[in-house]
Symmetry: D3
Subunit: 239 residues, 6 copies
Amino acid sequence: MADLDEQARAQLVSVSTATLTTLLFKRGLRNVFLQNVHPVAPGLPRMVGPAYTLRMIPAREDIDVLDAYADPAHPQRHAIEHCPAGHVLVIDSRKDARGASGGDILLRRLMVRGVAGIVTDGGFRDTPAVAALGFPAYHQRPSAPVGPIWHHAADFGLPIACGDVAIYPGDIMVGDGEGVVCVPAGIAAAIAREAVEATAYEDFVESQVKLGRRLPGLYPATPESRAEFERWRQPPQQD
Amino acid sequence: MADLDEQARAQLVSVSTATLTTLLFKRGLRNVFLQNVHPVAPGLPRMVGPAYTLRMIPAREDIDVLDAYADPAHPQRHAIEHCPAGHVLVIDSRKDARGASGGDILLRRLMVRGVAGIVTDGGFRDTPAVAALGFPAYHQRPSAPVGPIWHHAADFGLPIACGDVAIYPGDIMVGDGEGVVCVPAGIAAAIAREAVEATAYEDFVESQVKLGRRLPGLYPATPESRAEFERWRQPPQQD
Amino acid sequence: MADLDEQARAQLVSVSTATLTTLLFKRGLRNVFLQNVHPVAPGLPRMVGPAYTLRMIPAREDIDVLDAYADPAHPQRHAIEHCPAGHVLVIDSRKDARGASGGDILLRRLMVRGVAGIVTDGGFRDTPAVAALGFPAYHQRPSAPVGPIWHHAADFGLPIACGDVAIYPGDIMVGDGEGVVCVPAGIAAAIAREAVEATAYEDFVESQVKLGRRLPGLYPATPESRAEFERWRQPPQQD
Amino acid sequence: MADLDEQARAQLVSVSTATLTTLLFKRGLRNVFLQNVHPVAPGLPRMVGPAYTLRMIPAREDIDVLDAYADPAHPQRHAIEHCPAGHVLVIDSRKDARGASGGDILLRRLMVRGVAGIVTDGGFRDTPAVAALGFPAYHQRPSAPVGPIWHHAADFGLPIACGDVAIYPGDIMVGDGEGVVCVPAGIAAAIAREAVEATAYEDFVESQVKLGRRLPGLYPATPESRAEFERWRQPPQQD
Amino acid sequence: MADLDEQARAQLVSVSTATLTTLLFKRGLRNVFLQNVHPVAPGLPRMVGPAYTLRMIPAREDIDVLDAYADPAHPQRHAIEHCPAGHVLVIDSRKDARGASGGDILLRRLMVRGVAGIVTDGGFRDTPAVAALGFPAYHQRPSAPVGPIWHHAADFGLPIACGDVAIYPGDIMVGDGEGVVCVPAGIAAAIAREAVEATAYEDFVESQVKLGRRLPGLYPATPESRAEFERWRQPPQQD
Amino acid sequence: MADLDEQARAQLVSVSTATLTTLLFKRGLRNVFLQNVHPVAPGLPRMVGPAYTLRMIPAREDIDVLDAYADPAHPQRHAIEHCPAGHVLVIDSRKDARGASGGDILLRRLMVRGVAGIVTDGGFRDTPAVAALGFPAYHQRPSAPVGPIWHHAADFGLPIACGDVAIYPGDIMVGDGEGVVCVPAGIAAAIAREAVEATAYEDFVESQVKLGRRLPGLYPATPESRAEFERWRQPPQQD
């Protein structure tokens, strides 16, 4: 699992998921934003990190009992203790939020361990406490029922589905107040650079729109508006 | 497209969407509240204005490319520049929030132009920024992916569906913290007047309920309770 | 309908719905958390009380007119006036939020009467006002349309479905910021006691996780960790 | 529960559910066709009869065990033995087809008893055998799992929801190859008469369309086309 | 609206919708198969023809009354009389099958007029009679309720959505027992030619698989398997 | 992967999925019937065999191209060639039927190889041809679009979800005209024996119901009815 370059991490933490989807679309990638996956609470810090994956299948009553958690080799508990610092734990919960994918104690443990965030397309429990943690956590909706009622943690470290998006271990997960985008590992550094540039141009557009300027000729960019942008972004010259 | 009388606008901005649905139901109109359409953020100003409509159909890969936006005749961009001030831009996104119906730059442009608000049954992108704009915006859920992945802006100015409700251009769209109701243009002024009256009676009911009064004989109104209400609302006489 | 022991009420108001679902799962009850039922607003007080049930069926145009509410025997109005203080009014709205299950005036009346809260798997109207009431209210999503467009109040006091969960009159409804759990009446007192104990242990776990401790051997509990917990919770001895 | 007049029964068995919905719409009744309720198999006989209702709520593991069926007072078993001959057993299964609402043995018992048919908005089990019975049975989709996994039979003889439609005991249920319509008891005889007339006119229209005639002026009917119809339907005169 | 070349029509009528989606995918078109749109009955003839579009929006009670159909300019009735022979009438019903998009009389009129078929993403009524017509008709599910309860025919001849696919007037609609695919007008002739070739190769593959041959090296094709195919398809030489 | 005992196979092929769900429920297994998974066509042979699993995740445009199928190591193609004879290929398609999980050529290859059947919770393409094969195939609904538009075959031989049910490799899949049930490998032989007994009793019940007998005291069985059944099933004695 490739590590994330610190420069790319810094760049990605400063751009929006919306900007990233546009750049990924330019490269032919249409399905990168996790559907129906939302921040547990408003105002959480942004999230950037490589994906560490965990896969749930439906529970079976004779296998999925509370005592199963006592085994340190249980894949969910293993993932909680072994997801590397700086990574994002991404859980394939089959979009089923009837049972929890995790709760405040597990999330606190991840936070203490330096994990960058957690994502499920199911639901977390103890969400009032989770909201207070200040740890980037994304899910579908709150779900108090304990996990084994509906979920069996099958394995970790495999490609998974999350929110209808393919997540390969090591793909870079970026989360903001809008949701989570998955940037394929191989192009993450390039996308990060482009995103910083695109964001700068969008800032320019915003400044112009505030002044009452029309969008045509400005957004999307034209050669003329790009030239204008270059002048706008330049630091004022000194004599 | 008929303009909205200033008195009616002032009246409508002071009443709730719940009150309006009751009055429309009395006239036999059952399907006027947009389903699954919510304010982008809590605390936005109320919205009142005639509908200016934009219609999306599904995207096709060879037609819906980012460069298409460069054409000022592109219906979405046309709508952004031509939706009249005081109107509400209403977008038929076929209840599909997988691709964005618009983002913060477009919404800021609408706000600068004096448009009264924007409504889609899909999703907006850049919603953290949109929430900060203070511009009335209603959608299904946040959606970072750029629009052309799923949507093609087909035309504007036609009757559309939005949130399972028929929207005819010029119908009066009213939005509050609960959602959006569509008041047919021809009865908007009458409904506005009735709504102010109904709201006054509801204020009376609320004052009575706070005092511990039972609802029967009070809500719904009886001739006796109406008479009592008339005395209640009267300004105290001076000698 | 059995009353709720004051001690059990005090215990239940201090524990989370997540903890309760775990304890109920241990007794073989898997389906106790109401699906897609959320607090109307963040920050409302917790809710505990026995269920008083109201059942809606679909509306029929010739029966469900606004005037029907004028009859004090109308089951919804009856329920508003007769749901006992300290109880929770639970409404089976067939998960249909297209028409309201109630609004701010009804909820205020319940609050004034000392009712402990209200739950529907449909939607409430006047939700901005409801949010300001400070009364525990749980629903699916805001719904401005007046109830009789889609709902007919059929009867009260019968076992119902709410959020896909069976609710028998007198079952203890517990609500927190996450949602609502239904605790069968017969085991509510025992569950309340166990929940206080489980919460204490979870507090211990949280204190240890904050210190950097690993979960295996701690959560789920082992005989050793339980012994440690007993020492941890003991008040410091005085000489 | 009013019995169904034999003439009305004969009339209703000869008309389509589509024709009935049109006539009910003319009287302001819009919501009379059960949604997502289909014949178990093609080619079953038509169904006409007054509704005898059975209501399911979600199962609870400690209550809904297989042994519960041994009690003759169990509402489902009571309904099977007491639904009057000529009536239709209509089951409110909350549109949940994860557990069966009944199977071939129960349906055969109903058939032997002379019951006119059975309807659920859930699913039946043993559907290959049910299809072979030749008994009118309507459901959402096949569902092998035994009922108590998801359903608890709560009571019978009350107004219910089925397929999003209000069903009052005694309402006349009419089923054909398309689905099931609920005709309110009080107007069933009048609707039956009108339906026979409307069907005759539709037969006339069909005969004309086969000859290549255009629809305007013919369908919907005009005074001229009605006069023509009256001549068309008249038996040829004899000398 | 471009006519369909007779050779292309003959080619398209002989290939499967599955083969067409593969060829369209090779050109980058992913979203061409109408979702949740099925033949009304098994065994209907295949359908090929250019799209003639009709658009429905939600009904409004004061506009959508039965008498509205008496107006020959009513868009639905206009479409029935003016959809050109050889074309396919495609209806955007917003995937709403609660009200019918048409019934047996309208479909018979289309058939008599030489129209090639009809498609809706809603439902047809009188489906037992429609099934007997032998006219290609595709929909979501049977729906007895008369159209104006839920639908208003807004206009015809515009680009629409049907089954989540963009349909431009003149696009070639092809239907078989599996469903309906939309082939963009500009590439229909080329796709038709390619489809005949692809089908011939699939016939070759099938003949080989019947003989027990493994798929690798055969399907997908390799240069060697293509050469083998060319020999296979050649008519036996005569001396 | 354990083989299936020939006796158990013969027993399972003679009982219904409904009977199996009842017996599994008695052992506490509630979630064993695949939801929304149906036979591709009526009248296919019954299916019994151990599960060989294949797992799909969402497609990514740069990975999932048609040429990927040319690699014999491609998991889907590997599964087609290596699923053992007598086994059932079970595909986790995440309940997504927008792209095909397979088509007639692959299914024919499986049939030629002696595989017992195929199951997906997505859809198959070429379903008219598949229906003609006479090979047990179960899916959600027909889906013409080629697989890589939406699916990436990730791996095989792992525990998966299919139709919301946990499928472990080697579990015994049993399919009839109603759908598919998953019998855990370890109890399959015992369940098979019990199912034959239960079916015999149901045959007895059916014979009695045909004679007009009431269900109480007969179904569910009582000690008396069991004794009567034992006499009924005994072959007539010969002198």
